[in-house]
Symmetry: C2
Subunit: 154 residues, 2 copies
């Protein structure tokens, strides 16, 4: 899902003072979000953060409904991004361990807020969803509609 066109808009030499990080940084940060804001990434990171070192199959079992394909793919990406360390023990049968790197651990900690949010508010979201469904069925009353406004704005 990475088809990002990086427009290199000419940086005006009217570069103001030292102000905030440039817009280029913005793009990099955005890119990071695109990489880590992923369901499997979060779930895998969480399991590794909680259990420490895990083997491929065990990790897959813990995550639950992930396919071997996605597990492999996501782990490879996490490894290439320096978030997960993959260790191969040259034995038969194969034995491969996965564990978080310092960087990966720091990300899993950053995700904590989101996990806590999910735990705290999942009921409210479920309720909102029901309300939305209910409101969508009846004829009148769609969603929020502002009172007639004489100001056409545009």
């Amino acid at each position: 899902m990475e088809s990002r066109q990086v427009e290199r808009q000419a940086a005006p030499d009217t570069e103001p003072s030292v102000r905030q990080p440039g817009p280029e940084i913005e793009l990099l940060v955005r890119d990071m979000i695109g990489r880590v804001a992923d369901k499997w990434t979060m779930l895998i990171l969480e399991e590794l953060a909680e259990h420490g070192t895990l083997r491929f199959t065990r990790l897959g079992d813990l995550v639950g409904d992930i396919s071997q394909k996605m597990l492999t793919k996501t782990l490879r990406q996490l490894e290439s991004d320096g978030l997960v360390l993959r260790t191969v023990h040259p034995v038969i049968p194969p034995h491969v361990d996965y564990r978080l790197t310092e960087l990966g651990l720091s990300l899993s900690e950053a995700f904590c807020g989101v996990w806590e949010w999910a735990e705290k508010y999942h009921a409210q979201v479920a309720q909102a969803r029901q309300d939305f469904q209910s409101a969508a069925l009846p004829r009148s009353s769609g969603r929020a509609v502002a009172a007639q406004d004489t100001d056409s704005g545009t």
Copy 2:
């Protein structure tokens, strides 16, 4: 030498009173993660959190490279989940406002940690990716390989 890890996967259901809610909740929370751990969700929430109320097109411009389709779709989902409030002003031409609800605001705050992480470590990730690429090309030396281990483990 490698410490033989004693996996306690055989742990009986005698759930120790450590913490964690029931396993059913786990599934619900997981579901929530699946819904919010999304690139567009994060980006849209961020823009709304930063700018307050925004109109469709303006929001799309701020997010940048999102397609109209995904913008619509993601907004609908956010609306149905009670994170975003959509207000239609019945004028011509149409005028639709989007803004965060309290719930949406709380989620955007939960995401802060991830944004901060991205800002702080994006360079390290980029470096890791380069290193990984470099290490993948050469003949020998794949990634981390543990020393020969006489204990076949399984």
